[in-house]
Symmetry: C2
Subunit: 582 residues, 2 copies
């Protein structure tokens, strides 16, 4: 069985020594969020997650969810663990105090998300979607809507969903058909079928609040005719008590490759009562309020699974004896190819953690810093980082899950060892909230272009200023400078090709996205190497960080060049080949 | 559900136009094996496989195998399909006629293996291991052993296993503990536990013949003290009838990530009666008689899964509407990132097919060509190709399975669509019969070194002579020449570093193996492009081949340079990091 121990030291190193997350307590909203407080909370969350949640991961996968005549049961232990989790305040950690939250930094909640998603990523979706739904209603809802739903959604006492996808409308959200017809009393009657609704139906919470994309009568076609609605499972009376069951029926649940503990529901809205959230026909913008933060959360899910894969593979490799290595070592960690895999896993996971936490930090700065210039810069980073953190952390989760299986050898293929579950659970992360191909399109067609290319300019300037000094980290500063040059050249090529050769841009987008993320990780490893160099109290740990940085600099960062060379190619002939000839 | 249609045209193109498999009928043993005969048999096998086997793939995955008090039941339909399959002669296709086979080329049997492994790779293991066991007994057994077991093993009426792995002895085969004690009558009593025994127990066949690695009393420790034994499930009387049940007990079956239709058994030998095969303490060499051909077969399993992933992804992408593409196309095949994925899949699968079939062809030439020089050269290619075909086709199967899921988007994660099964079924291919890391060690430490480096020299010379001419295939001939230069430089570096810096060699082995395979695929795409250029009767098909070749030349073949640069690195610091510091 896969085991999980929260990597407290790594987490604190990134927060304290690399990102200086202590700066958050200087923000007016976060005066209480000192590093000491945050460290204490991280340790407290880690204890609960390790002891109460992680043990459910394997059993939840084996048991899965069950549908019975519209009711959905979750795996044994999930309901109790969820009650414990929200009641301890972890769902509401960064929600505003007026709605039951603790008002602590978003960054901190992402750290807790990482740990929860290592322990059991299927379980983590129940609080995850709840927070997403909260964020949308908090940003867009009327005072009355907020008063009705947020106090209990904010703590996690009620859970939330986002209802977007329909059988014919996945990436192509403009073809959503679910209808919302005015009832004449300010409410709407929703009719239509939604699929792939995470946590769409269960009895772990007293109520479920659906955030639904639908179409008003006479609205324009396509994405411009979408609106958003709040549709509770049980109507809420004026005094806050629960009223009638709304006709939102779960018609089936999906049988999936992984995340078996998460119920993925088909929901039929049969004249269900809902209320519009935000203005008519602004549904697509409203959805992105939720979606952008959801994409960052999915990145954290990926990071959690990266960590799970990495720590289990390392532990196994330290323990498993299988022939003598060249260097005389008796466990497989001394076999060079196993070590190559483990260093790939370490370099990826630790580098991705800096990217993910930094994204969280920029969200906090963008929302709470008193200086508008800082808010603007932080906002740019959030925009740029969102597709990177979503795609890189999730692609890596799948890849590292596969590497973990490889480290275990044939035993990795056996379910009881728990690492094959990482492969199965992680794959969905590359697909939902916009496939990783869609992330790449967001990167090349929006993020590179907005504000006249200001986002990547900030990025390149920052990396250049950080990588000037050579000693003692020249071994990574130099290849990082080369990677930045290559990436900037390719960025310019994409910016120039954007309008005239959209297919060329689209064809190279995924390779470019990976090149961008690897360059970002180079920057992270540079900063980690610098911070570790300054550490004086643990030579073994310091050497581990510097060696991993060296591995990254030598064998992973140079991939940027081959990827970028791929991007700067014509795809004309590839795109004109007739589909029938495939 | 994934569907399967045998790619007859592709198969025949590779056999006829690229590899000139018609040359087989000039060999004394294969006078009957004209291309016409082989093509007819391929079509006949395809029909049976498409109609009778492919429909079992999804149901076999869902139902799986069941253990009940030592008995194992296979999924519904497997037993009937197996009877049909062996009775039609497909198990014995390339076995010698004196033992019930059809005596047709090994190459042809690999083509049928590819198709069977597309249709249902779990099912394919029952005949697969049977042929492996046959080959070992045919090569090593006494006349009496052959007369006893081979007539029914050769047709597939009985099935076979290879019993090697024990809980502590996977890659480290020298630590096998199962004991073989002489009974005094020429037979031995086997005692010990084996795990991961494919087809170890079932009732689909009247008897199961185990080929077992065990240790004689007083044998030297390690691999030099291993011997091989034939141990039937039911003893065979002198008249060929079945006698007593041998005490080989199936104590459990594994619950696995995939290949649920294949029973993976733990077997306990409790004084089971066996007979030694080959000389005492030559077990490791004997095992490799079986293992080398088994590795090629695993490569074909990978190829089969590559094809399954590719054709389903292409069909889905041609059918699925999801927004308008830049070029106005209405199905997702016109979205550039989807097309990138599909071309990656096509380029990989079709390139791998040439590698796999060519390996089969060289096996035939090595065994049956009248000229000893040709036999020697062909044998060298088989040696070199074995780790390449095993690792590349299986890594690709997993990667392409993942790409297929990505093409399907969220629907790919749902079991009923059938492509996530490819990911789960394929992962074992990267692990068994020597993990792909072990293949890489075989490549760099044995295949590069034997006969003073003669194997890679032959390879480079062949590729150079093939890639001299430019027009009309200069677009791939030139990058191929560059790849060969890079690979040869790296090969020399590895050959020089072999003794003094084994850890550096081991650290780069997997990257080198991939670079080698990609170069091999460059050679294959060059040959396919040449052959397609000569085709005059179907311009659409010709354009498809040339476009895919161009994609490979432009975006996949250049990876050789980055991989080789990785290889030629020192791993000293990476290897000296203390295991405790991970």
């Amino acid at each position: 069985m896969a085991t999980y121990k929260a990597p407290i030291r790594e987490i604190q190193f990134v927060l304290n020594d690399v990102l200086d997350a202590g700066q958050l307590s200087a923000l007016p909203s976060y005066g209480d969020a000192t590093m000491e407080t945050m460290n204490g909370l991280i340790e407290e969350a880690a204890k609960l997650i390790e002891e109460q949640i992680a043990p459910l991961n394997a059993s939840g996968d084996t048991e899965g969810c069950r549908w019975n005549n519209g009711e959905v049961s979750v795996p044994k232990g999930f309901a109790e663990a969820y009650q414990q989790y929200w009641q301890a305040g972890w769902v509401g950690l960064s929600n505003p105090p007026e709605f039951g939250g603790a008002g602590l930094p978003y960054t901190l909640s992402k750290v807790v998300d990482e740990m929860l998603c290592s322990a059991d990523v299927a379980f983590a979706l129940y609080p995850g979607l709840t927070v997403g739904c909260f964020e949308a209603l908090h940003a867009l809802g009327t005072d009355e809507q907020k008063a009705t739903y947020l106090p209990k959604l904010g703590t996690g006492e009620w859970t939330g969903t986002m209802c977007i996808t329909e059988p014919h409308a996945g990436t192509d959200i403009g073809s959503v058909k679910t209808k919302a017809t005015p009832n004449g009393d300010g409410s709407y009657a929703l009719d239509g079928g939604k699929i792939f609704i995470t946590s769409g139906e269960h009895t772990m919470a007293d109520n479920i609040i659906h955030f639904v994309i639908a179409r008003l009568p006479d609205s324009p076609p396509g994405v411009k005719g979408l609106s958003t609605f709040v549709v509770p499972k049980f109507l809420v009376n004026a005094d806050g008590s629960l009223g009638a069951r709304n006709p939102v029926r779960c018609t089936s649940i999906e049988h999936k490759m992984g995340i078996h503990g998460s119920c993925t529901c088909a929901l039929q809205f049969e004249g269900a009562k809902g209320w519009m959230v935000g203005a008519p026909n602004t549904g697509i913008q409203n959805m992105f309020v939720m979606m952008n933060l959801a994409r960052i959360l999915v990145g954290l899910q990926g990071l959690g699974q990266c960590e799970l894969a990495t720590q289990n593979a390392i532990n196994y490799a330290k323990d498993r004896k299988q022939g003598k290595a060249f260097n005389g070592g008796e466990t497989i960690i001394d076999h060079p190819d196993v070590r190559r895999m483990l260093l790939t896993m370490k370099a990826t996971t630790e580098g991705a953690r800096v990217m993910a936490y930094e994204t969280g930090l920029y969200v906090d700065l963008a929302h709470h810093h008193p200086d508008p210039a800082v808010r603007e810069a932080a906002g740019d980073w959030v925009e740029l980082n969102t597709p990177l953190v979503k795609s890189f952390c999730t692609d890596s989760a799948f890849d590292l899950g596969s590497l973990a299986v490889q480290v275990y050898g044939g035993h990795g293929f056996i379910r009881e060892h728990g690492v094959e579950q990482i492969v199965r659970d992680s794959k969905i992360l590359c697909l939902y909230e916009g496939t990783n191909g869609i992330q790449a399109m967001d990167l090349v067609r929006r993020k590179l272009m907005m504000h006249n290319g200001r986002l990547p300019q900030r990025f390149f300037a920052k990396l250049r200023s950080e990588s000037t000094a050579d000693a003692p980290v020249g071994f990574i500063a130099k290849p990082l400078r080369e990677a930045v040059d290559e990436l900037e050249k390719t960025t310019q090529w994409l910016q120039e090709s954007f309008k005239t050769r959209p297919d060329d841009v689209g064809f190279g987008a995924v390779d470019f996205q990976r090149a961008f993320s690897l360059t970002y990780l180079g920057y992270n490893w540079l900063r980690m190497a610098k911070a570790a160099s300054l550490s004086t109290n643990d030579d073994a740990w310091k050497l581990s960080k510097l060696t991993t940085a060296q591995f990254f600099a030598q064998r992973m960062l140079p991939q940027v060049h081959a990827l970028c060379a791929n991007v700067r190619n014509s795809a004309t002939e590839l795109m004109t080949l007739d589909a029938a000839s495939f």
